[in-house]
């Protein structure tokens, strides 16, 4: 049995199913935008990032996603007259017992050391001296990717739209840029050098080879082999190097899966055809995987958190959702696909519980 957590514009849907047949097991936060939901496999605890149109952003926790959710404490900025928290984008388990990270808008990192019940703002990152110069992407100044280093809580990589990659070697006490090689084609050439106006859409570290990361950029797919210090463009061979989500196969450090969209001005699947692209050679080549996905008149948008996986290797399960309300799945690492759900509200996030 696979359980999917599908965050949508109108609530969190928990889908359960097997062999390609999924049903809605529960719906929580009815009417509220759920940006992200995930389960911490270490504790079994569920997390949901909810942005009420009326009452602001919150993180909720539950032991049963179909039961009662409890608001986590501490998800707020320091009181001031300037900024308020806009949205929460992700919750990620850390590399120590009870440690979790959460990212949000305006480019903020929170840490929890009690399994996600209470949170504190990472002040060194909040107090970055260049912060007044930071600018948001179209989705806000979202800290959407937090890449821990397996077994080493001191090393972290963050990605923000649109403030690039940030690295820490001391558990978040100090931070530095990791942007070498990224090319923001959306800026004039003379404005590209040394800019940190860098719109990263997604970033993942490979657990078996932690110095390797893959990135979906705002126009560009990149790989890093030096823990995020520098980046190599690997987008050649894709129908478009624009897109949002990215997934890797934990068994294969040369693997990445992306879902190309036409371009920043036309954020739909190219040629009216939905296809996931897979590399197994670290980006040297890409192979379309679309068997079972809509192949004509399908102009879908897949958002940055709307692609999840479980397992690894040939039986890895992949699931992604679109703003059309469709959720697609594969139980053979993208070889064949099926429709796991249709007619949901616009999908913001998909994770396997």
């Amino acid at each position: 049995m696979t359980q999917l957590l599908v965050g949508t514009k109108k609530g969190l849907f928990v889908l359960g199913g097997d062999n390609g047949s999924f049903q809605v097991e529960s719906r929580s936060f009815a009417g509220e935008p759920v940006e992200f939901a995930a389960r911490d496999a270490r504790t079994g605890r569920y997390f949901a990032c909810v942005t009420s149109a009326f009452y602001g952003p919150k993180v909720f926790v539950a032991d049963d996603p179909g039961g009662e959710w409890q608001q986590a404490e501490g998800i707020a900025l320091p009181e001031s007259e300037e900024k308020a928290l806009v949205r929460m984008w992700c919750v990620v388990p850390g590399e120590e017992d009870g440690l979790l990270y959460a990212g949000g808008d305006p480019g903020v990192l929170f840490e929890s050391r009690d399994g996600g019940l209470t949170w504190e703002l990472n002040k060194p990152f909040w107090e970055q001296p260049t912060r007044p110069e930071w600018g948001p992407g179209a989705g806000g100044m979202c800290l959407h990717s937090i890449a821990t280093w397996p077994g080493d809580p001191s090393r972290l990589a963050l990605a923000i739209s649109a403030v690039g990659v940030w690295l820490s070697d001391d558990g978040g006490e100090t931070w530095r840029h990791g942007n070498q090689g990224l090319v923001p084609r959306y800026l004039p050439e003379e404005a590209r050098e040394d800019t940190f106006d860098l719109c990263v859409h997604n970033l993942h570290r490979h657990p078996a080879k932690p110095e390797r990361l893959f990135m979906q950029f705002h126009g560009g797919v990149y790989r890093s082999d030096d823990a995020g210090e520098s980046w190599i463009d690997i987008g050649t061979g894709l129908p478009s190097d624009f897109g949002f989500p990215l997934v890797i196969d934990p068994d294969d450090a040369d693997s990445a899966f992306v879902i190309p969209l036409v371009a920043d001005l036309d954020r739909v699947t190219p040629d009216g055809r939905v296809r996931v692209y897979e590399t197994r050679d670290a980006g040297a080549s890409w192979t379309p995987r679309g068997d079972g996905l809509p192949a004509e008149d399908a102009y879908l948008t897949i958002l940055r958190q709307a692609f999840g996986r479980s397992g690894s290797g040939e039986t890895m399960e992949l699931y992604f959702g679109a703003t059309s309300g469709d959720v697609f799945g594969s139980r053979d690492a993208g070889g064949t696909w099926f429709t796991a759900a249709a007619n949901l509200p616009p999908v913001h996030s998909v994770r396997v519980a």
């Binding site: 149109a53 009452y55 919150k58 707020a76």
Partner: protein, 86 residues
């Protein structure tokens, strides 16, 4: 004392109470008193800047109020979601 009237989900955060009597000379003072009386509601009506959230309306009796709107004893504050959304 002013009377703050709450709807769900705010009333649930106030222990299920749809009306709460509170002291305060302005809307902001009354809402801060509400947070002190019912800490679970902190952050839901007023954000970190001390501002009423953009899509929350606070009426003092029949008139739309702001943070600095004067509140007199016996006034009724209605906290309701704005007519917005998608």
């Amino acid at each position: 004392m002013a009377v703050v009237r709450l709807r769900a989900p705010l009333s649930e955060l106030a222990g299920g109470r749809r009306e709460v009597e509170l002291e305060g000379a302005t809307v902001a003072e009354v809402l801060r008193a509400l947070e002190r009386a019912h800490p679970d509601i902190t952050g839901w009506i007023i954000d970190e800047r001390g501002k009423i959230r953009e899509h929350v309306n606070v009426f003092v009796n029949r008139e739309s109020g702001q943070e600095d709107t004067t509140v007199a004893p016996g006034d009724r504050l209605h906290v309701i979601p704005a007519i917005s959304g998608g």
